[in-house]
Symmetry: none
Subunit: 153 residues, 2 copies
DNA sequence: TATATAGATGGTCAAAGATAGTCAGGAGCA
DNA sequence: TGCTCCTGACTATCTTTGACCATCTATATA
């Protein structure tokens, strides 16, 4: 007996395949369809459609809201982004983040200007109003999201 | 299910395009046309045609009243970056920040790719590990720092 | 002419409705 | 027993609606 979460996972993957890389779902509708609580959809997404699994998820709340799940391109040079995204984990220092960004610039995975913007976004000065204990994890979130955004299909 | 507000937004934008920069509408007539209450027109304007989005709205009450929506013309990039940096203050919502960025892209002050990166840096998802109460001020810090860095370049 | 009144607009705001997100804990299985 | 799956209460955000308010024009009236 297949677990419901696996069924939902397959359903979404099928959708992505059919639509060529992107599935847009409505949480409540999908939950009704599979006769489960809405939050199970979040569970499925949170355990099977993470960045590490190669997906990029966006959503919109409120009336007419939706969840959009997209496949990340893992082609040649950009798999380095994915490696970094996975290795960052939940936290990264300014120095380490800047070093990675400089590396990407050196290897021409991103432009000099991209690098400027990325470093501007993750430096301590930009994050000054965050709580110190939290700063490295916020930085990790920003860096990951910028890298992933560049390689979503 | 497409949101009615989005449909109305597109309708108004189309009007602006066709008339070369300015749409003059009648609130009640438009509401009747879209089968909604008049105040929804205000909602659409208030959420999608603000100054931050690059629009200027005037209206006239009473008999023969109307609402006039115009695209604001922007010319000098550095002035606008500086102006925005000053006007952001200590806090900005995701919506407002994204509106500004989209506006800069529209007026070609920054590239489409710059916009993608900047929006990736300031969105709620990227800042998920920050405390909710602090998020808008962190976002302001990031946006300001990116804009300032672009001025220096 | 000056003023009052009615009608026609648009503005504001708060409540209700529609989604999705989070998190702690229970349920089930290896 | 420990991991994964499932549930539901609570939260955050966005949209739609309607009651009440402010302003302008036209017209009737003194």
């Amino acid at each position: 007996m297949a677990r419901l979460s696996d069924v939902i996972e397959e359903f979404i993957k099928e959708m992505i395949k059919e639509t060529g890389g992107e599935a847009e779902i409505q949480r409540n509708a999908l939950a009704t369809h599979f006769k489960c609580v809405p939050s199970q959809i979040n569970y499925v997404i949170g355990t099977r459609f993470t960045n590490e699994h190669g997906y990029f998820v966006e959503s919109k709340l409120g009336g007419g809201g939706h969840i959009k799940i997209r496949r990340i391109a893992i082609t040649k040079p950009y798999n380095n982004f994915m490696h970094l995204v996975v290795s960052i984990g939940g936290s990264i220092s300014e120095q380490a983040a800047a070093a990675h960004i400089n590396n990407f610039v050196d290897y021409k995975l991103i432009s000099y200007r991209d690098g400027i913007l990325m470093k501007a976004a993750i430096c301590n000065k930009a994050l000054a109003s965050s709580i110190t204990d939290n700063r490295d994890s916020i930085r990790a979130g920003i860096l990951k999201n910028m890298l992933l955004r560049l390689i979503v299909v």
